[in-house]
């Protein structure tokens, strides 16, 4: 069975600084994707970034980037120049067709 661990239930960062959210997972699938989703207080789940497991190059989306270590089964999310609008619950989710979600990390941005 696939498992996902987000070891940081809560994180906080000063506005404009950089923060890294960690995620480790276990999967038996050989071909899969990895995602980070954010859930602000509005409750709408929003896709932040996607990584194909077969690609060695780490995905980047504006201020968001990942550090994907396939052998270590690690998939961390780095948020640069943090903004107040980044405050949300963040979920790591690997999978092929079905995604398995971590427990989430609540990110607070301090002005």
């Amino acid at each position: 069975a696939q498992t996902v661990t987000q070891s940081q239930p809560e994180m906080s960062v000063q506005e404009a600084e950089t923060v890294t959210l960690s995620c480790t997972y276990d999967t038996s699938e050989s071909d899969y994707y990895l995602f980070w989703y954010k859930q602000p207080p509005s409750r709408q789940m929003i896709l932040v970034i996607r990584q194909e497991a077969y690609k060695q190059q780490n995905a980047t989306e504006n201020r968001f980037s990942v550090n994907f270590q396939k052998a270590a089964k690690s998939f961390s999310l780095k948020i640069s120049d943090s903004q107040l609008g980044d405050a949300a619950m963040y979920f790591c989710a690997p999978g092929a067709q079905k995604l398995v979600f971590g427990q989430g990390t609540r990110l607070t941005i301090n002005p």
């Binding site: 994707y33 509005s42 709408q44 789940m45 989710a93 079905k98």
Partner: protein, 109 residues
Amino acid sequence: DVKVTQSSRYLVKRTGEKVFLECVQDMDHENMFWYRQDPGLGLRLIYFSYDVKMKEKGDIPEGYSVSREKKERFSLILESASTNQTSMYLCATMAYGYTFGSGTRLTVV
């Protein structure tokens, strides 16, 4: 953009009632999913469907069933609601990642 619509944002039901949670997508996606979200547990998969009339159990199917009579609609059914089914329910469709509905917060009293 793909739109996934969940019919109710908030719902309050009584113990023992039969509850229907509806989810409709406006694209031709085959894969649809129902999750429940609880604090500290993340999202857990209840049921999923890869095609019309097809359904598969997820990790926590007990107490739930689903219906997919048309490709665009995937319904979650609580046959006899119980208080431990009080939760946030999220529907999603899959194509290069999930697109989620806005969620239904169900309270069973």
